[in-house]
């Protein structure tokens, strides 16, 4: 079974079909490149895989499982609970003052002790006497709340954070670091998925929390060492050189311990030395057991490290194969260089 399988992926934006029925698969441990001329739909494919866009048609499967969250009993329960809550709010919205009067004001004498059971019975009496109005308020509130909760859930069936949670992580074509954080913090933020301590533990700085933070820091340093940025650990991310920012993005993505790493033009704007370091880095990432899918324009990188190449043009897949096959593929040459009219 393939690690990643893209089946019949189609993305339409209004009348524009950016990606049209694209199929491809990535096997465990491979480096696969996605290439094509500008505007071919490569980044759109990435966005559809990572959940930034919802595919118009087709599906993305990771290890044979659809990345869309299934509708479970838990979801129905959650929607119902929110509906109940907003229903209660709806009742309050229409009946707040009389309810208060029936429960509190009528049963309380200044500085006398207060009998809660009388408040409850007063409340019950009011609710029974005005059953119609109360029910109306409840229904309106519950309907709005439940419908809202369901819509929110339905729109989040495929979310980037959910997909990151099952082990797909990415970098971006135009660098998107957390600019105002330090290099180290960028990496520890990438590890967030695997941290367990909650807000209360952080508030009190419990030993468990401090232990986890320490471990997180150590691991972040190891990752920074791996990509060669350890000596910049304390610098602000925005102050790094361009090539270093690209490597930091990779480090941040690696920190989430992905099974599949998507790299969007990692070599863009790099000089030849940086590019060859990057190629070594990508190979080393693969050797750590992470499968890599990359978009790249530098043919030296693509041909040098890819196990297989998928070629897109105008949103459709025109070729797939090993670097050698692609190099001599007529359709690919046509897409990049244009058709030879003389023949």
């Amino acid at each position: 079974m393939s690690l990643l399988e893209v089946r019949g992926l189609t993305m339409r934006f209004g009348g524009l079909t950016a990606v049209n029925r694209v199929d491809f698969a990535v096997e465990q441990g491979e480096i696969v490149s996605l290439i094509g001329p500008n505007g071919a739909g490569k980044t759109t494919v990435f966005n559809a895989i990572t959940g930034v866009y919802e595919p118009t048609a087709g599906g993305v499967f990771l290890g044979g499982r659809d990345l869309q969250r299934p509708f479970e009993a838990r979801v129905a329960l959650g929607v119902a609970a929110i509906g109940l809550l907003t229903g209660a709010l709806g009742v309050l919205l229409f009946h707040l003052e009389p309810l208060w009067a029936a429960a509190i004001t009528e049963n309380y004498e200044f500085r006398k002790s207060f009998v809660w059971s009388r408040a409850w019975s007063g409340l019950g009496r009011y609710l029974a006497e005005n059953a119609g109005g109360v029910l109306l308020g409840f229904l309106i509130g519950a309907l709005v709340g439940a419908a809202g909760a369901y819509v929110v859930w339905a729109r989040q069936r495929r979310t980037p954070f959910g997909i990151a949670g099952v082990g797909v992580c990415r970098t971006f074509q135009n660098i998107r670091l957390f600019q105002e954080m330090t290099v180290l913090e960028n990496v520890t933020t990438g590890m967030d998925l695997h941290l367990r301590s909650g807000g209360i533990q952080a508030l009190c700085r419990t030993p468990a929390f401090r232990g986890e933070e320490g471990k997180t820091c150590d691991e972040a340093r190891r990752i920074l060492e791996f990509v060669g940025l350890l000596r910049r650990a304390g610098d602000q991310a925005a102050n790094l050189a361009y090539g270093d920012q690209r490597r930091l993005e990779i480090a941040r993505a690696l920190a989430s311990r992905p099974r599949l790493l998507l790299l969007d033009e990692p070599a863009a704007g790099m000089n030849p030395t940086e590019t060859s370091t990057l190629m070594k880095l990508i190979a080393a990432i693969r050797d750590r057991g992470v499968t890599v899918l990359l978009i790249e324009h530098h043919m030296k990188v693509v041909m040098g490290i890819s196990d297989r190449i998928v070629v897109l043009d105008y949103g459709t897949k025109i070729a797939e194969g090993t670097p050698d096959e692609i190099r001599s593929h007529s359709k690919v040459i046509e897409a990049y260089l244009g058709k030879d009219d003389s023949s």
Partner: protein, 348 residues
């Protein structure tokens, strides 16, 4: 780093010495210039409001213009929970726990449907919420006594000591201690995973989402914490004032003042917020004192508006803000990245 630590200690020392300064002023016959009572009533409360707003505006990067509403909810929750005309009477410390919790809940109810909005739109929603809360408090007079306000409210309670409104020093030190405690807690949060999530969402929401962070949950948490802190500020404010005052006290001006505190001091930096509070509120107090002094000396009267410094308040304040934005847009103490832990230095 050491320089900044010293700034913190100086600030704390000044705060600790203000009551002593008052005694000194009284001793040399300048009792009118004593400020401690007002520092306690306004500055410490606004410092907590600033601390709260800093979480959502400074750390999470969402423009929130409704902190006064949460302060008002805190004030009224305190009143209803403790005043003798209601049956609950949980006492000061009970309310200190319950009122902020209620505010956090209100924050979640406001936040859950609106946090998908961005920037300006969220600002408008929070602004509207502020107005709605005022109107509701005014009109649900069966519960809140409308524009009368609820009074008297009980003072804080400590074993072996009863607070009296004529002696402000105990209130002052109690509120200062609460403020310091809150600062430490917020700092712990900021330095943890929670703080990193906030800043990640602020710096780049899409990238944060792709790293497995659920932005709605992160923002909701920030929203709830802001609401709780502002509610607590409300509790302290009402307890010192001994009444809720009328609902219009907690209007848009309060929210904007707190925002100004952040802008002047430096967003996303607790130290900045404290300095900002001292500057903004201190300036206000100083003008008031000067006005009073001039009136006493017969140099100013309500008839002569130009000779009344407190009338210049907004002019000076506006000018100061403009100058500030030109020369120090990040605030007095802009938030920098936290310096690297010591191990990083060794690795160099």
């Amino acid at each position: 780093m050491r320089r900044l630590l010293r700034a913190d200690s100086i600030l704390l020392a000044v705060a600790l010495l203000i009551p002593a300064l008052d005694l000194l002023l009284a001793a040399i016959g300048l009792g009118n210039w004593a400020i401690g009572n007002e520092v306690c009533q306004r500055v410490l409360v606004f410092a907590i409001l600033g601390l709260g707003l800093n979480v959502i505006v400074g750390y999470t990067g969402l423009l929130h213009l409704g902190v006064a509403a949460f302060m008002a909810i805190g004030v009224y929750a305190y009143a209803i929970l403790t005043c003798d005309i209601y049956p609950f009477r949980v006492g000061f410390w009970g309310a200190v726990l319950l009122a902020p919790a209620f505010c956090a809940l209100a924050g979640v109810f406001l936040g859950a449907p609106t946090l998908r909005l961005r920037g300006d739109y969220l600002a408008i929603v929070t602004l509207g919420f502020g107005e709605i809360v005022q109107d509701v408090l005014k009109n649900v007079d069966g519960i809140t006594k409308g524009t009368q306000g609820i009074n008297p409210l009980p003072p804080p309670s400590l074993p072996l000591y009863t607070f009296e409104s004529s002696v402000y020093q105990p209130w002052y030190y109690l509120y200062l201690a609460i403020l310091v405690g809150l600062i430490l807690l917020v700092r712990n949060l900021e330095a943890s995973r929670v703080g990193r999530q906030w800043k990640a969402v602020r710096d780049d929401e899409l990238a944060a989402t792709c790293m497995g962070i659920n932005p709605t949950r992160v923002k909701l948490r920030a929203f709830a914490i802001t609401a709780a802190l502002c509610g607590l500020a409300g509790v302290l404010y009402a307890s010192k004032l001994e009444t809720t005052a009328e609902p219009t006290t907690y209007d848009f001006n309060v929210s904007i003042t707190v925002l100004c505190i952040l802008i002047v001091g430096g967003m996303g930096s607790i130290r900045g917020v404290m300095i900002g509070t001292a500057i903004v509120m201190g300036f206000d107090m100083l003008l008031k004192k000067v006005t009073e002094a001039l009136q006493e000396a017969g140099l100013s009267s309500s008839a002569n508006v130009f000779a009344t410094p407190s009338n210049w308040k907004y002019l000076i304040f506006g000018l100061a803000l403009v100058v500030m934005m030109r020369f120090r847009p990040g605030g007095v103490f802009p938030a920098g990245p936290r310096s690297a832990p010591p191990q990083a230095e060794e690795a160099r």
